[in-house]
């Protein structure tokens, strides 16, 4: 009796970081696999550079129609930095980070709620705001781990291969990739937290990502449609050629703004709504 009474004395709520630690523990294997996949694909493309890059690339580009070069974002592909940006940062790296971030964003609240596993956490002595913010932090941390692993792999590989890619360029591209993946992942996360519907959240965020890619490539091709790329988060990310020209603060700022707006709106809705209906 006395032991229980003692146990009951004082109220104890969740210390900061408990939700975050739980999510990271739960996602640890997924994160490692995604990081390996991303490093593998990034390294593979970069390793092809000596056999396709430089002068050989110039010959190939001459044979391609200029519209296709624009559409594929190959304008700067002949330089080492341009090559890594076009193949890794603009294409497969971006796709992998996006798929991971949007999928995870949809799972972290809406998916957990649909599976029923969120119920005990919401019923625990932790506020909804804390649950929301720490789960969102987990998303950004996972994206950071992926991008950091990719950056490390590319830095090592380009220096071993003697490719002329500045480390600052890689860092600028990686910061953009983190913000791009984080922003669209946050969109999925926020939509999921606001509605509790994972399919809707992932579908909408994926549609926004696809549309943003289309807008970024149609913009320069269609006359008088430069506004298109201005609306595209993808253009905000790669429009400034970060690997060659460094950080494009305007575009990166817009990515961050998108994330903040989505996060705030989603958080407000999540605090207010019914869970598990």
């Amino acid at each position: 009796m006395s032991a229980l009474t003692e146990l009951r004395a004082g109220t104890t709520t969740a210390p900061a970081g408990t939700v975050l630690r739980g999510v990271l523990h739960e996602q640890r294997r997924t994160v490692v696999l995604w990081a390996l996949a991303l490093c593998g694909v990034g390294s593979m493309y970069t390793a092809f550079y000596p056999s396709v890059g430089g002068a050989k690339m110039d010959v190939m580009l001459e044979a391609m129609p200029p519209e296709l070069i624009t559409a594929m974002g190959f304008e700067a592909i002949a330089t080492a930095g341009g090559y890594v940006q076009s193949t890794v940062y603009q294409l497969l790296g971006a796709i992998l980070v996006l798929v991971c971030a949007i999928g995870l964003g949809g799972r972290l609240v809406a998916g957990a709620e649909e599976d029923g596993v969120l119920e005990l956490e919401i019923a625990a002595p932790v506020s909804r705001t804390t649950v929301y913010l720490e789960r969102l932090a987990a998303l950004w941390l996972v994206a950071l781990v992926l991008v950091a692993a990719l950056t490390a792999a590319l830095t090592a590989l380009t220096s071993v291969m003697g490719m002329d890619v500045a480390i600052t360029g890689l860092l600028a591209g990686s910061l953009g990739l983190w913000l791009f993946g984080g922003a669209l992942g946050t969109l999925a996360f926020a939509l999921g937290a606001a509605t509790g519907r994972r399919g809707y959240a992932v579908g909408t965020a994926a549609a926004v990502a696809t549309l943003s890619y289309v807008l970024a490539y149609l913009g320069p091709l269609v006359e008088g449609a430069a506004w298109m790329e201005q609306l595209s988060p993808y253009h905000w990310y790669v429009g400034g050629d970060p690997l060659t020209d460094g950080v494009a603060w305007g575009g990166y700022g817009l990515l961050l703004a998108l994330a903040v707006v989505a996060a705030v709106a989603g958080g407000l809705a999540f605090r207010r709504r019914d869970i598990m209906v």
Binding site: M1, L4, T5, L7, R8, T11, T12, T13, A14, P15, T18, V19, R21, G22, H25, E26, R29, A112, D115, G116, V117, E119, L120, E121, I122, A123, A124, P125, V126, S127, T130, R272, R273, D274, I275, M276, V277
Partner: protein
């Protein structure tokens, strides 16, 4: 004294569907209170309103004197909750998950995980995904009880547990109650709550239709009695007998509903030769039928008897388990 739970005119809508139609409920501190109703009556909705998972459409809820949305984490620190449909995350062992849930309570309850797991014979090193329904329910019970909360809200606590573990659950609940905890437990089976609960509320279609202590409820539920005699009899005396209703004579077989003591009925039967005697506790469903039967005379041999065959068989099976 502040009641542990008080709801007044509680209404909850899911879109256009109204799940609760003005629910009034009061549970005193230290009480073991049963919350009975068929599936879909609004039990889980009520419980989720207590935990602030849902927000009321109208009316008020108070848990330990505070509205759940106002009390927030500090209020929930004083509660233990077992969901009706417990879902556990994959890729984690039972022990890891329970320690995480204790960490969400600032570490409170960690010390009791081992002891409670032992009582329920729960293997803490097992992966949650590999657990059977009964073992998952054990994880749910351990996390609800481990921090010795002031108020336990248990949604169908014994579902999936075998009789031995149901017994262990009842002991645990009684210990918690003896220690001053209030226990609010829901069920759709009267037997599940009658051994632990003092009072019971019956909810039907989103309203509380009755609140009573268990003994009264049991008396009201009554028993279905079947008497098979060796020759046809005159059963007119039964129609006037106190506590006996719904008398049906079919050749040599007499069936009736008995509320209260069986003495009079036994006296009536004694002069005859009784070939077979059967008395079964009625199911909660039958009790609900009673609440709907406004004019008792009409029901005597009417459609109210239709579900008897099915429930009698069901009741017999239940009786064997007890």
């Amino acid at each position: 004294m502040t009641p542990a739970i008080r709801t007044s005119g509680l209404v909850k809508d899911y879109g256009r569907v109204r799940a609760l139609h003005g629910l009034d409920l009061e549970v005193s501190t230290g009480e073991v209170f049963g919350f009975l109703g068929p599936n879909g009556a609004g039990k889980s909705t009520t419980i989720r309103l207590l935990l602030d998972l849902l927000r009321p459409t109208a009316g008020t809820v108070e848990v330990l004197g505070e509205a759940p949305a106002v009390g927030g984490p500090a209020l929930r620190a004083r509660l233990g909750y077992l969901p009706g449909e417990l879902a556990l995350p994959p890729r984690t062992t039972a022990g890891e998950y329970l320690r995480h849930l204790a960490a969400l309570r600032g570490g409170r309850g960690t010390a009791r995980i081992g002891e409670l797991a032992e009582r329920f014979a729960l293997d803490l090193s097992r992966d949650l995904r590999a657990l059977s329904k009964g073992n998952k329910q054990k994880v749910g019970l351990v996390q609800a009880f481990m921090h010795a909360p002031e108020l336990l809200v248990l949604d169908e606590p014994t579902s999936g547990l075998d009789p031995l573990l149901q017994h262990e659950f009842r002991r645990l609940a009684q210990e918690a109650a003896a220690d001053g905890a209030t226990i609010f437990l829901s069920s759709h089976v009267l037997q599940e709550v009658e051994q632990v609960a003092g009072r019971v509320a019956i909810i039907r279609a989103g309203v509380v239709v009755d609140v009573d202590d268990v003994a009264t409820l049991r008396r009201r539920a009554g028993q279905r009695v079947l008497l098979q005699l060796d020759a046809a009899v005159d059963a007119t005396a039964l129609h006037r007998m106190a506590g006996v209703t719904d008398v049906v004579v079919d050749g040599t077989t007499v069936t009736c509903l008995l509320h209260g003591e069986p003495t009079e009925l036994l006296r009536w039967a004694a002069p005859h030769r009784v070939v077979r005697w059967q008395a079964e506790d009625r199911e909660l469903e039958d009790l609900f039928m009673d609440f709907y039967r406004t004019v008792p005379a009409d029901g005597a041999a009417g459609p109210a008897d239709a579900p008897t065959a099915a429930t009698a068989g069901h009741g017999a099976a239940k009786g064997g388990v007890r």
